[in-house]
């Protein structure tokens, strides 16, 4: 049996229609090559601080190898409750307003499945992290991309307001943003929040890079006036504590939404791995110095790389958070993909084409500075050589 496109019906149509990322081919090219200097990673180059790793080891030694409560270890949820209160003044009850997830990715998936009805519009400012639109569609919604490229990659009140001339279910906001490094000040967030409240549109706020905000204090969306009941806060341990492989995130929101998410979570995942949760407890208790130290290092690399890129003619503004520079390759005369492919083949430097994050990422590349200063220096000098060559 096959449909009109000739696909056999073995695979769900929805999955068949998911963005078949052309980027995959490029990724495979990178992975097949040796001795690449990579500024293409989406994770810290640090290893998890030792005391956190040690807590994970200790949990194994002590025989903590079981399931936990679906919602996550009480100890971890209580730690999160205290942390959120202290950091943002947010009061979430560990009992029914916090859910421990397997990374923020699962949090996004749960959130969308929990709230989306068929055809609901989910607004995604783009360029954006890759999972939002496909997961919105899988959940039965319609992803609506809001183009931010004309506004310095920032969602403006004007763009949001005009998108809401047609009702929408939720806005999926990610700040500091992967891939652009853009974040929002308190005032900018307040303006967006007012519009969301007016139109009764929920905010799903992915703040995984919150601790890596360099020029001002990060504001949690839920802490804005009137926003808490309307917001689902997603965060996790991956980026702040260099814990990507542990897979621990958390979601905080209203009882209603958290209960709905937990319902799905108990069927699909049961719980996050217990040893990872134990390690996360340690991170909350003793990790803040390590976070501060890594942040200082990222900030220095940020200044260094942005300065270097601009002097090469790869224009980019100073990103306010995360560990990415989103640089324009316009002056090279190459498309994003072409630029990345040739840079890889000629100079063995890997960066990610902006188009991986949406069509309007064309003309840009994402350059990660989660790499040692030595590597950054070497990569910049290779890029310089590359740009000289293609100008000829």
């Amino acid at each position: 049996m096959s449909d009109k496109r000739g696909n056999s019906r073995k695979i769900s149509i929805k999955v068949e229609e998911m963005q078949p990322s052309g980027i995959r081919v490029f990724f495979d090219l990178v992975l097949g090559m040796k001795d690449v200097i990579s500024l293409g990673v989406g994770e810290p180059d640090f290893v998890t601080p030792w005391q956190i790793r040690e807590a994970g080891i200790y949990s194994l030694e002590s025989g903590f190898t079981s399931y936990t409560s679906n919602k996550g270890l009480v100890k971890l949820r209580m730690g999160l409750q205290q942390y959120l209160k202290k950091r943002y003044g947010l009061s979430y009850s560990h009992d029914d307003q916090i859910l421990v997830t397997v990374g923020v990715s699962q949090g996004v998936d749960l959130a969308l499945r929990a709230v989306v009805n068929p055809g609901d519009r989910i607004l995604v400012p783009t360029p954006a992290y890759v999972c939002y639109a496909p997961l919105a569609e899988l959940a039965g919604g319609t992803a609506v991309c809001l183009d931010t490229s004309a506004d310095g990659f920032k969602l403006t009140p004007r763009v949001l307001e005009s998108a809401l001339s047609v009702p929408a279910k939720a806005l999926l906001l990610n700040y500091p943003c992967n891939p652009t490094g853009v974040s929002y000040t308190l005032r900018e967030l307040k303006d967006l929040n007012r519009i969301l409240l007016k139109h009764k549109v929920m905010c799903i706020s992915d703040e995984i890079y919150a601790d890596l905000t360099y020029d001002f204090e990060h504001t949690a969306f839920a802490s804005l006036p009137g926003a808490k009941e309307n917001t689902l806060l997603l965060n996790g341990f991956s980026k702040s504590y260099a814990m990507t492989g542990w897979r621990v995130g958390y979601a905080c929101g209203t009882k209603e939404v958290i209960a709905a998410m937990t319902k799905i979570h108990q069927y699909m995942m049961l719980c996050a791995p217990i040893m990872s949760q134990m390690a996360a407890c340690e991170a909350l208790q003793t990790g803040s110095d390590s976070v501060a130290e890594m942040k200082r290092e990222y900030r220095r690399r940020r200044a260094f790389i942005v300065d270097g890129l601009n002097s090469l003619g790869l224009d980019c503004s100073l990103p306010q958070g995360a560990f990415y520079a989103f640089a324009s390759v316009g002056k090279s005369g190459l498309s994003s993909m072409e630029f990345c492919r040739r840079l890889l083949q000629d100079e063995k430097v890997a960066v990610v084409p902006g188009t991986a994050f949406g069509k309007n990422g064309e003309g840009y590349v994402r350059i990660s500075y989660a790499a040692s200063m030595e590597k950054i220096k070497e990569a910049l000098s290779r890029m310089q050589r590359f740009l000289k060559k293609i100008k000829k």
């Binding site: 992975l31 293409g40 990673v41 180059d45 220095r300 690399r301 260094f304 890997a350 990610v352 200063m373």
Partner: protein
């Protein structure tokens, strides 16, 4: 601690130019600050950290930790006698510490014999030195924050979202 010092402590080869770019300061200002640190004796020297455990034919000899008990001198306390001791080139480090003994020395010599000779002929007979305990170093695992073993590195996937 000033961030300039933090950077140089990790990488003594970082140039003023590079540091200025990391900190978004003028190169001139960074150069000036470094010069002042050098002049004031805050930055003492720049050197490579060598993992002698891995140097072939290394004749770096032996090291010993030595606990020294001292009778302090009137008015001078430990300082004068410490100075007499640490001025020997064999003494690579010298600390005054609290607890059951007074000075902790790190001694380097080309072999066991040289170190023993230094202890028995120079150190122990000194006036005010009441006793010494010598511990020869068997193996170094970590020094000044650096692990002296090549560990297999987890190769991160070279590209990811």
């Amino acid at each position: 601690m000033d961030e300039i010092l933090e950077i140089l402590e990790k990488n003594g080869r970082a140039t003023a130019e590079e540091i200025s770019r990391m900190l978004r300061k003028k190169p001139e200002a960074v150069r000036k600050a470094i010069n002042k640190y050098e002049k004031d004796g805050i930055i003492l020297s720049y050197k490579a950290v060598i993992n002698k455990e891995m140097v072939k034919y290394n004749n770096s000899g032996v090291r010993a930790l030595i606990e020294v008990n001292i009778t302090p001198q009137k008015d001078l306390g430990f300082d004068k006698i410490a100075e007499r001791i640490y001025s020997f080139p064999e003494v690579s480090s010298c600390y005054l510490i609290s607890g059951t003994y007074d000075l902790l020395l790190i001694i380097e010599g080309k072999d066991l014999h040289t170190v023993s000779k230094f202890v028995s002929e120079k150190l122990a007979p000194m006036e005010n030195v009441r006793g010494v305990v010598t511990h020869f170093l068997l193996k170094k695992y970590k020094e000044d924050g650096m692990v002296l073993k090549r560990v297999e590195e987890n190769e991160r996937i070279a590209i990811s979202y």
